[in-house]
């Protein structure tokens, strides 16, 4: 299993050729700018048949956030990662959130996603 963290934007996705990935996790925030970039990324992945798309929506605070995300990605699997002070605290102290707060809500959502991707291939 290889997990790659791509550069911001969609430059890397645009240049991917062949069939190097199984799943593309498009990480977005519920902001107008981020959703637009995510929409373009998902469009590219779909057009070039690069792999299965999962949208990981980060820093989700409320139902309005969730609605913005689902409206942008109506036909895509969406994982909602709540806005979580534990992540902010971990980042500021330079510690991995998984080490600092393994039970924080945001961390648990990502652990679930990882387990699911592992078991479904």
């Amino acid at each position: 299993m290889v997990v790659a963290d791509f550069e911001a934007g969609i430059g890397t996705v645009l240049r991917l050729e062949g069939n190097p990935v199984d799943v593309v996790v498009v990480v977005v925030e519920p902001t107008a700018k981020s959703l637009e970039v995510g929409r373009r990324a998902a469009e590219t992945v779909r057009e070039n048949k690069l792999g299965h798309i999962v949208v990981a929506a980060n820093r989700v605070r409320d139902a309005a956030d969730e609605q913005r995300i689902r409206e942008t990605f109506p036909d895509v699997e969406v994982v909602l990662v709540p806005d979580d002070p534990a992540i902010v605290a971990a980042e500021r102290s330079g510690v991995s959130p998984l080490d600092a707060s393994p039970d924080a809500p945001a961390v648990r959502v990502l652990v679930d996603l990882a387990n699911r991707l592992l078991t479904t291939g």
């Binding site: 911001a8 934007g9 430059g11 925030e29 902001t31 700018k33 373009r40």
Partner: protein
């Protein structure tokens, strides 16, 4: 004044640079805002509805030199002409140009990228201020995509990852023309954050911008923070950044 905003992704470059450009224009300067990121960014903080404002293909012509394909602005089109013809204007009169939309797989972006670079090399000289917004990270800055800048403004939040990128970007001072490199501490929560950002990047501090929930609200609504909360902490801090840099630039 010619400045370029750089820093790690998510540090707040686009929010601050667009606000900075508008505040600067409000002081009476003629401002060109340049966004060299193919993804939407600075347009939001400028309060513009349109994020893809690249040079159209017709503005750039292809030619051959020593058997190699090269690009330049169309014959007779100067950098100033291109700004006048193709930039869009914000409410404060800021002229805005962007790299242009990234258009799908295997699309050749040479015309767009070299056209933007030729424009950077032929920008209007006197009577204009330039405020640039570069993509996150170190790649574009060290590949001279901010070469119009007399001053690089490195936006850093008080997190180790952001500080590390800031420390690398401090080396921009060694680029051609020996530009000045200053740091802006963003999303500051603790009183000592700003000084630590300056100490850990080794860069002189231009100023600090407090953590401001209004930025997140504005981003969610797709509004510029300057329109959403014109008297709030971010707008106030950016006014102070502009005033400080104007004073320093006059002194130099």
């Amino acid at each position: 004044m010619r400045v370029a905003f750089v820093g790690k992704g998510g540090a707040g470059k686009s929010s601050l640079s667009g606000t900075f450009a508008r505040v600067l224009a409000g002081t009476g300067e003629r401002v060109l805002a340049l966004d060299s990121d193919p993804m939407p960014g600075m347009a939001f903080s400028l309060g513009l509805p349109q994020s893809d404002v690249g040079l159209p293909d017709e503005a750039v012509e292809e030619y051959e030199e020593e058997g190699r394909r090269r690009y330049r602005l169309r014959a007779g089109l100067t950098g100033s002409d291109a700004v006048e013809q193709y930039a869009v204007r914000s409410a404060e009169g800021v002229y805005f140009l962007q790299l242009g939309k990234a258009r799908g797989g295997r699309w050749n972006n040479s015309r767009q990228h070299f056209g933007f670079q030729r424009l950077m090399d032929d920008l209007p000289d006197s009577g204009w201020s330039i405020v640039g917004d570069l993509p996150g990270g170190t790649r574009q800055p060290f590949a001279t995509w901010g070469r119009y800048a007399e001053t690089y403004l490195v936006v850093v939040e008080p997190t180790p990852a952001s500080l590390l990128t800031g420390r690398r970007l401090a080396r921009l001072a060694g680029m051609q023309g020996a530009p000045r490199v200053l740091v802006i501490a963003n999303k500051v929560r603790e009183p000592q954050d700003a000084e630590q950002v300056s100490a850990r990047t080794g860069l002189p501090l231009l100023g600090a911008v407090p953590f401001d929930p209004a930025v997140g609200e504005a981003d969610r609504l797709g509004l510029a923070v300057l329109d959403h909360d014109p008297q709030g902490p971010t707008a106030t801090a950016v006014r102070s950044l502009v005033a400080t840099l104007q004073k320093e630039t006059e002194r130099v």
